[in-house]
């Protein structure tokens, strides 16, 4: 920056130097450890599927919530997650429905947070 010794690149630059120094120290102090430890659950199908469903579910929410609306996305995701984690249909569906409604009402009506309506726009209140 003209006229100033310390511009916008100074702060990130300092952080970068710090990270490099710490990284080097870590490499030296940990030279006898395994490079990468694979967690045990990655090899088992049920936990792996469950964790993937969480990550993909969150991604799905980011992409689809505006078009589908909170009610549909929330209901879908909660049912998916509870079912995948082992809840029966008898428990999963009602809990998903009630939780979605309660969360929506408390955040939308009480706290005035504009959760997306999506295709249910016509029923908006």
């Amino acid at each position: 920056m003209p006229g100033q010794k310390f511009g916008p690149a100074w702060f990130p630059g300092l952080i970068a130097i710090g990270l490099m120094v710490c990284g080097a120290c870590l490499i030296f102090t940990a030279k006898d450890q395994r490079l990468f430890v694979v967690p045990a659950w990655l090899s088992r199908p049920r936990p792996l599927l469950a964790v993937l469903s969480v990550l993909l579910g969150l991604l799905f929410y980011v992409l689809a919530a505006d078009t589908l609306g909170f009610y549909l996305t929330g209901l879908l995701l909660l049912t998916l997650w509870t079912r995948l984690l082992g809840a029966s249909w008898r428990l999963a569906l009602p809990v998903a429905a009630i939780a979605t409604v309660v969360i929506h009402l408390s955040f939308y009506k009480l706290l005035r947070i504009p959760l997306p309506w999506g295709i249910l726009e016509r029923f908006a209140f």
């Binding site: 920056m1 100033q4 010794k5 310390f6 511009g7 916008p8 100074w10 702060f11 990130p12 952080i15 710090g18 990270l19 710490c22 990284g23 120290c25 870590l26 102090t29 430890v37 967690p39 659950w41 088992r44 049920r46 936990p47 469950a50 964790v51 969480v54 990550l55 579910g57 969150l58 991604l59 929410y61 980011v62 919530a65 505006d66 929330g74 995701l77 909660l78 997650w81 509870t82 984690l85 082992g86 809840a87 428990l91 999963a92 809990v95 998903a96 939780a99 979605t100 969360i103 408390s106 955040f107 706290l111 005035r112 947070i113 504009p114 959760l115």
Partner: protein
Amino acid sequence: MLVLDPYVLWVILGSAVFGLFVGAVPGLTATMATALLVPVTFFMPPVPAIASIVTATAMAIFAGDIPSCFLRMPGTPASAAYTDEAYAMTKKGQGEVALGAGLVFSVIGGLFGTAVLIAAAPALAEVALKFSSFEYFWLVVLGLSSAVFLALGNPLKGVVSLLIGLLVSAVGLDNPAGHPRFTFGNAELAGGLTLIPIMIGMFAVSEIIRGIAAIEQPWQMAQARIGNVFKGMWELTKKYPVQTLRGSVLGTAIGALPGAGADIAAWMSYAISKRFSKERHLFGKGHVEGIIEAGASNNSALAGAWIPALVFGIPGDSITAIVIGVLYIKGLNPGPMVFLEKAPEMYAIFLVFILANLLMIPLGVAAIKGAKQMLRAPRELLLPVILLFCIVGSFAINNSGFGVLLMLVFGLVGYLMEENGFPVAPAILGMVLGAMLEENFISSMIKADGRLLGFFERPIAGGLGILALAVVAIPLLRRFFRSAA
């Protein structure tokens, strides 16, 4: 007598419950509670209006401790400082001690801060105003060096985590030069990466991933029964009077500094507690001492923040920034004259502070018991619902889906970090303080014309600077000399 009006008392009760709810949901902060109350206060006379905000924020700051203790998901950034400690206590079956201590010592801290507010507000405000960018810079350095002490385990990894947090805070347009950094031309990134979704991601989502990955193991939800929340509190008060006092004093002092609030106070108090503790080796495995000091600190910071707000109209933290607006609307213009011209209202406000802190006790106990009942729910139902809450909480801060994306990404990052021994808490601290650090450094450099020695020329700055350097250097030197001997 303005306070003992039934309307005011109902308002206080209502806002306490509201503050409890907002504080306990990860993603909703005490500042948000205040902002949401403002439109409601338009229709109220001055005393209940201010009373509602005071009560709601006091409850919210405590309520953030509840999910932080039971679920390792801090409800507010102020609780993030001792989340790991409280959760470790829950796993040992001592969750009620952690929360009881959080409650009782929050009340004590809050009452202490109120007492200071009542007795010494103008005098303290004078000192607070002497803080310029140099003093703030050293204060932030002191706060950041807390991260080195906070790191449980490998301090080197703690520093890396801190640097990651600082790097994240550097993203965006919001820097002294106004130059877009790391934005890649994206409008969302230009606004910077907001703290709350990242905090929810790194603490809550990573914990959910951990819980879900262990789906085939039995659900060890800590202890079976909640005991009396107050059991042992008197012994704790007798055992840790210094910590209580120290936490309250530091909290009030930091709260009184404009711009520094409960979050920073909690972090620094926790670090100081660990640093000067006689039982330092117990920290991190579930030890109540740090929770006592930090819990007292963050509630006293709330009261301390009102000192510059009332005396000068300068906000002590983000909550009082909003409150000052309300004060003006209600005709209680901040300034030294307000204590003379509007004395009955001012005394009423002080009384409300005391009432709010005392009200925390019964409501807090009810909240703790209620939360514990909720945790009896089976994991396969509880975790998805919490996840949906987290989604909404991340969305709510900017009303943007980008928050949810941040939560997802940093949830993964936080999980990977912790699996490899990198503590997440210093990263959050780095994000909270990064902007303050850079801004104050650059302003100070401009003022001192590029001379580093200028950082020590002002008396308070010099003192803080030497303290900061000592705090960082002495443990390093000690370790060096010990290994050389």
